[in-house]
Amino acid sequence: MDKKNTVKKKVSFSQFGHYNVLFEYFITHGLDQEYVVPPAITKRTMELGNRHSPDFVCSPFKFTLGCFLEAIEAGADTLVQVGGVVACRLKYYGALQEKIIKDLGYDITFVNLANADREHPLSFLSLIRMLNPDYSLPKILHTGVTVLAMLEALDRTQARLNRNVGFEVKDGDYDRAFGRFLQRLRQADNNVFAVLRIYGRTKKEMEAIPVEIPDDPIRIAMIGEYYTVMDDYSSHNIEKKMAKYGMYVERWMNVSNTLVHYSAPKRRKVIKDYVKYDMGVTTTSNIGFALDCAKRGFDGIIHLKSFGCTPEIDAMPVLRNICSDYDVPILFFSFDCQNADTGIETRLEAFYDMIKMKKENGKEKRK
């Protein structure tokens, strides 16, 4: 069958951290469709999403809706939204966003992954058919493996960046290396070895960047709601801001850790003194990671969430208990669509000052 004559779909997915690169790769290599890269999130994206969203919905809904609308402007005719495994409002994102977008008069295909049944993997194929009716299963599986390798490479490289970027001698070295890495992923050959080579090369490049890491840096654990924690625009770039104060920031949460390496029963066991039941989505993993960091002697915990994220609100009292038991200060942030940074900087700077003074005081005592 000659597929070249059929008109390709112009598929797009919302901005979310840097995972767009992987999605693009899967759509173009695995499904032979075109991919429309949604414009980077700006104030306009936020305003667009905000205007057409219910007022009290969580901010990731607004951001992703804004991204979809901008992707349509950029030429996309098929949109994909995630959903599925989690028990929070995310499950309804797709259904509602599809309705909002269609009510606005756009004639698009909306592929809502929440419509697939996790118990029956074959149900995913009906969604795949919406993206390409003549899909080739071997090609999808082959590309899927490459993309999985890319996911692992991306998350590991991002973690390396986060660990070191605050201590780089020359501002911007790590970001430039990371940019090159993403570019290479986009152009990579469709096999695992190509991905491994890119990963290795970037690792070497990053290790060659001069850094000055103090003997006993302030160590902060970053936790919170899935989207806000991973998306720099939503989190007001808080991860970078903390790094620039000279804090070492550890973030466990990323897509590979939560979807591939995560074992909920293990985490549940670890936190059983604090929590009896799952409170949904990422709460168990967040509480588990917070407890782990508290035990490892971290200097502080920072918790981010979108305003009104119910599961994370449930996690907050538990986090407070952990923090008072281990004497670790915690800072909570709740974001919606505000754009002033001043209040965030005030609280962050005070947090840093407090930890620094506490640490210095502790050292004096030990002398």
Binding site: R44, T45, S324, S334, D353, M357
Partner: protein, 316 residues
């Protein structure tokens, strides 16, 4: 000639300034309303301070700024230290009360709690989304009751049976208040109810999960309201200390931090005659439209900020 240090705290409602000597003692302090124009307020403040400053024996060698306009004023005055108000308040207060363990602070638009142990901040929290239960709220309700803000606390103290009022949200509180007035509650009881509502709002939201231990120091504009002070004492069960100089604690802390920084940047009061201009303009180079703030002294660019990327940077 001895060294002196100046601290300036520019808040949403009021602007405070102190000058201290090398032993952190206050040489002079002043206080006035910001009235929405921080730059003009600071100029006025400097004139007031200059009139009381002993320029023959002291010279100001460094400035610290704090409060919501700290960056702007810091740029204009070439400050040695620009510090957030939480740290500044903690430093200023421990200087007055070295043994303080809890600081309540309710200002014009924000409220915070600072927990200290052995003179070191160990925990703090700030109000999050809105200004419910802050000075702005009291001013509004006082106006509704036709009471002067200054008299509000005294009137509240005369009540024997405070009216229950919801303080979670200003809109809810207003409708509660209107309703209570209509069923014939007295102004005294309503004023006392509002004071209690502010305290409960503070303890339930800002101070949630924090361990309040004495000595407790209460600061910020609202600490001048005796009704709120009494309500705090009733609810916490601890005596609440309010200082005469409590409103200057932030400025005092900023001055101390400037002294500790050891950076010498001599200051001249003649700056009040210098032409200062601040512009805020949209960058326009991408859809972010960052608002870039530029500060000019006699036409020359002193500082600029607000841009998210290099494209929006403004240089002289």
């Amino acid at each position: 000639m001895k060294n002196a240090f100046m601290g300036i705290d520019v808040g949403s409602i009021s602007t405070k300034g102190t000058i201290i000597d090398e032993n952190d003692r206050i040489l002079c302090g002043e206080y006035l309303y910001t009235k929405g124009d921080p730059l003009e307020a600071v100029k006025k403040l400097l004139r007031l301070l200059e009139a009381r400053f002993d320029a023959e024996n002291y010279r100001i060698v460094a400035i610290g700024t704090t409060g919501s306009a700290r960056k702007l004023i810091g740029a204009v005055l070439n400050a040695a230290v620009i510090k957030n108000e939480i740290t500044a308040h903690a430093v200023g207060t421990t200087n007055i009360h070295p043994d303080v363990r809890t600081i309540f602070e309710i200002g014009g638009q924000d409220s915070k709690i600072i927990i200290l142990r052995n003179g070191v901040v160990t925990d703090y929290a700030m109000n999050t989304l809105c200004a419910a239960g802050t000075g702005a709220f009291i001013s509004n309700q006082a106006a509704r009751l036709d009471i002067r803000v200054e008299d509000f606390g005294g009137i509240a103290l005369r009540s024997t049976d405070p009216t229950p009022i919801a303080a979670r949200c200003t809109v809810f509180a207003e409708s509660d208040l209107v309703h209570k007035l209509q069923i014939g509650c007295s102004k005294e009881d309503i004023a006392a109810g509002l004071c209690r509502a502010i305290v409960l709002n503070y303890l339930n939201n800002v101070a949630k999960g924090k361990k309040i231990e004495p000595p407790v120091v209460f600061q910020g504009g609202v600490s001048k309201n005796i009704g709120v002070v009494k309500a705090f004492e009733n609810e916490t069960g601890y005596p609440v200390i309010v200082d005469e100089n409590g409103h200057l604690a932030g400025a005092w802390g900023a001055a101390i931090l400037a002294r500790r920084a050891g950076i010498i940047r001599p200051f001249d009061f003649r700056i009040t005659d210098v032409e200062l201009k601040i512009t805020g303009k949209s960058c326009g180079r991408c859809a972010n439209n960052c608002e870039v703030i530029c500060v000019y002294r006699e036409g020359a660019l002193v500082d600029s900020w607000g841009n998210r990327c290099e494209r929006g940077s403004v240089t002289a």
